[in-house]
Amino acid sequence: MDPLVSAASVLAAALAVGLAAIGPGLGQGNAAGRAVEGIARQPEAEGKIRGTLLLSLAFMEALTIYGLVVALVLLFANPFAG
């Protein structure tokens, strides 16, 4: 593989997963904080809040995973390897 292409691919892979982690990180923190608030206000609803929180955390995590898929494609199945 062209060294320039491999260098750019490795950098792009790192950026893809790193940048993709920012947004979901903020979102997950926000969601978890609100869930704790909700539980503190209404401890009897804890079970329901926990279930909803886990489901929505997994949805947010999926966004980072998309970045990870792009990174993995660049590392292991590079379309520009030629």
Partner: protein, 252 residues
């Protein structure tokens, strides 16, 4: 890329291979053999357990029948919550199949020591570790919700593309493509990421340290199976729900 890591491979350690396939030639098609082997094992397991559970059904369930009834109730609740009380019944088998297959596949990747089986090329892993499996499941979901929409509302189903305004037509059409795309990538990425994390940790510290990561992997795989089934049911429910019917659903 991972040549240095691959050179460390020994008898027990996974080789951390991504994109190495064990091909079977079928006519002009090249098939990923390792995925089919593990899928068949998963399917066989599910069939055997279902058969054992429903072989002699008792009025008061015990043992395996009890367990499978619990699983059925769980799946029925997913379908009921997403599709609605009136329409959910015919879709329980589809949603349940998706959930059980994905769940057992994901857990088999972490719990069954596939890597001890030697293949000429590549290695055995969870079937959902391969993008083809997840894309197939996601496309089945697409077909299912199109079928649900057209069979429930006839040709009036296409009217949903110009709702709430015709300006949203391109976005509504795009949504039909992004739904299977995000479904398949979410599942594939999560499972592959789990296996890679465990693989890297095993490579660094082979004992004890990977255990928490494996536990987390089990947890996320279960959640992913739940999410896939929930989303499939939600898409089906959304396709069937007409605009005039909102009111009467609120009555219940």
């Amino acid at each position: 890329m991972l040549n240095t890591i691959n050179s460390l491979d020994s008898l027990i350690f996974a080789k951390l291979e991504v994109g190495q396939q064990f091909y079977w030639q079928l006519g002009n098609l090249k098939i990923h053999g390792q995925v089919l082997i593990t899928s068949w094992i998963v399917i066989g397991l599910l069939v055997v357990v279902s058969f054992l559970a429903s072989r002699s059904i008792q009025r008061i369930p015990s043992g395996i029948q009890n367990f499978m009834e619990y699983a059925l109730e769980f799946i029925r609740d997913i379908a009921k919550n997403q599709i609605g009380e009136k329409e959910y019944r015919p879709w329980v088998p589809f949603v349940g199949t998706l959930f059980l297959f994905i769940f057992v596949s994901n857990w088999s990747g972490a719990l069954v020591p596939w890597k001890l089986v030697k293949l000429p090329v590549g290695e055995l892993a969870a079937p959902t570790n391969d993008i083809n499996t997840t894309v197939a499941l996601a496309l089945l979901t697409s077909l299912a919700y199109f079928y649900a929409g057209f069979s429930k509302r006839g040709i009036g189903y296409v009217a949903k593309y110009i709702q709430p305004t015709p300006i949203l037509l391109p976005i509504n059409i795009l949504e039909d493509f992004t739904k299977p795309l995000s479904l398949s990538f979410r599942l594939f990425g999560n499972i592959l990421a789990d296996e890679l994390v465990v693989g890297v940790l095993v490579l660094l510290v082979p004992l004890f340290l990977p255990l928490p990561a494996m536990g987390l992997g089990l947890f996320t795989s279960a959640i992913q199976a739940l999410i896939f089934a929930t989303l499939a049911a939600a898409y089906i429910g959304e396709a069937m729900e007409g605009h005039g019917e909102h009111e009467e659903e609120h009555h219940e």
